[in-house]
Subunit: 229 residues, 2 copies
DNA sequence: ACCTGAACACCGTTCAAGT
DNA sequence: ACCTGAACACCGTTCAAGT
C-alpha cells in the first residue's frame, strides 16, 4: 500500500536453521516447532491431564518453549482449542457403507461421533464448548444432515434435527466423561450408594445403552414425522 | 469425641453486631452479608457482565469485601455456581394445570425451562456446566421424568428420556445465548452474510421454532415407542 | 520463520488474625 | 458470625527484540 514491494522484503532474509543455532550457542536445542507440533502436544496434555490442565504455559513447557512462542502459531487459546476439536471430531469419519438405510446411518454417525469423543479425555466438553461458540464441529453436523436428508426430509428439517441430535450427543458424552474421572478419583465414600448409583446410571454398558436410547428417540421422532406429514 | 461438650463452646460467645463494629471503628461500614446476599450479588454480575466476568474477586468487590470473605459463605466457586444454577432453574416451576396431557406437559416443562434459562445471561452455560458435574439441576430432571411417566413409561425409560431431553435443552439454549451476545457485540462485518445467516438460524422466532421442533422430535420418539412396545 | 524476556493485568484459594 | 491482610501458586496475552 505504501509503494514498497512486499515481495522484496525477504530477498536477503537469513534463515537460521536449527543446526546453525546449535552451532552458535553450543546448545543442541529442540527442533523448532510447527503448528502441527503444537496441536499434537496439546492433544497429549489434554488426554493425559484433562482440559483444566491444558494451559498455554503448561503446553509451552511441554514443548521446551516460552508461553509467548505459542502465539506465533495460534492467535489465541480459543483458536487452538477449536483446532483440537476439529482434530478429535475428524476421527469420527465412519465408512458408513452407503447401502445403509438412512436411520441406521444416522445411528452409525452418532455412535461414531461418540466413539471419537471418548478417545480423548474431556473430548466432549472441548468440542461442546467450541461448538457453542460457533467454531468447528461443522463437519459432524453436515454428515448427520446428509444422512437425515436421505430419509426424504427437507434441508431445514434435516439441519435442525441434526443440530438437536448433536446437542444430545455432546451433552451425554460430557456427562459420561465427567463420571468416568469422578469414578477414577475414587470417591469411594459410600460403597452402598455408589453401587446403587452404578446400577442406575453407571457402567460402560449402561451408558452405551442410554446413549442408543437417546438417539433412537430422535430417529423415532423423525420417523413419526415422516409417517404423518 | 474427646469428651468436651460441643454445646458448651458457644456459651459466652460475643456477637459483634454491625452497629457495634461501626461504633468502634467510627466507620459505618456496609452491612455484613449473608449467604443469600452473596448469591444475589453473583446473579447480578452474571446477568450484567456474563459468566466469564463472574470472578470471586469481582464479586467480592461488588460487595465491598475482601475475596477471602466469600469463603466463609461458600467453600469454593463451584459450590457457588451450583447454588446459582439451582436458583435460575427454580424459576421454571410452571403451574402446569395438571389436566394437561402428558406430552403437552413435557412440552410445557421444556418451554418453562428454556424461559428460565433465558432470563439470565449465560444461564444455560452455567446450568449446563454444573449439571455435567453432577451438581444441581436435579429438579428439572425430576419434573420432566414425572411428566413422562404419566405417559405410561417405566421409571428408567422416563428418566433416560428426560436426561436426554435436558441435554438437548441445555445445548440448544447455550447456543442460542452465545449467538445473542455475539450479535450484540455487533460483528457487523458482512451485512449480507449476516442477513443470510439470520434467515437460516437467527431471530428469536426462528430459535423458538427450532427449539419446539427439537422437543417435538423427542416426544414423537416416545409416542412411537408407546405405539409399538 | 520461529522464539526469548519481561512485563501487564489478572485468577482461585488458604490461613492466621481481627471484631 | 463474619471479615481483613497478606500471601501462594497460578493464569492468558502483548510486544520489542533476538537468531
Amino acid at each position: 500500500m505504501n509503494g514498497v514491494h512486499l515481495n522484496s522484503v525477504h530477498l536477503n532474509d537469513v534463515h537460521y536453521t536449527e543446526t546453525m543455532a546449535a552451532m552458535e550457542t553450543g546448545n543442541p536445542r529442540q527442533a523448532r516447532h510447527s503448528r502441527d507440533d503444537v496441536a499434537e502436544a496439546a492433544l497429549r496434555i489434554l488426554d493425559d491431564y484433562g482440559l483444566p490442565d491444558l494451559t498455554m504455559r503448561r503446553l509451552a513447557a511441554s514443548l521446551d518453549v516460552q508461553p509467548s512462542a505459542l502465539y506465533w502459531h495460534f492467535p489465541n487459546k480459543q483458536t487452538l482449542l477449536a483446532e483440537l476439536a476439529d482434530r478429535i471430531v475428524a476421527r469420527s469419519r465412519t465408512e458408513h457403507s452407503d447401502d445403509l438405510e438412512w436411520s441406521a446411518r444416522v445411528r452409525a454417525e452418532a455412535a461414531g461421533l461418540r466413539d471419537a469423543l471418548l478417545t480423548f479425555r474431556d473430548g466432549a466438553e472441548l468440542v461442546s464448548s467450541t461448538f457453542a461458540l460457533g467454531l468447528g464441529a461443522a463437519d459432524p453436523v453436515d454428515r448427520l444432515t446428509e444422512a437425515i436428508e436421505l430419509g426424504g426430509f427437507d434441508a431445514e428439517t434435516a439441519r435442525r434435527a441434526s443440530v438437536a441430535l448433536l446437542h444430545f450427543v455432546l451433552g451425554h458424552v460430557s456427562h459420561e466423561q465427567q463420571r468416568l474421572q469422578y469414578d477414577s478419583l475414587g470417591v469411594v465414600a459410600d460403597e452402598v450408594s455408589a453401587r446403587a448409583d452404578d446400577a442406575v446410571l453407571g457402567g460402560r454398558q449402561a451408558q452405551a445403552e442410554a446413549f442408543d436410547f437417546g438417539v433412537m428417540l430422535f430417529v423415532g421422532g423423525l420417523q413419526r414425522l415422516a409417517a404423518r406429514p
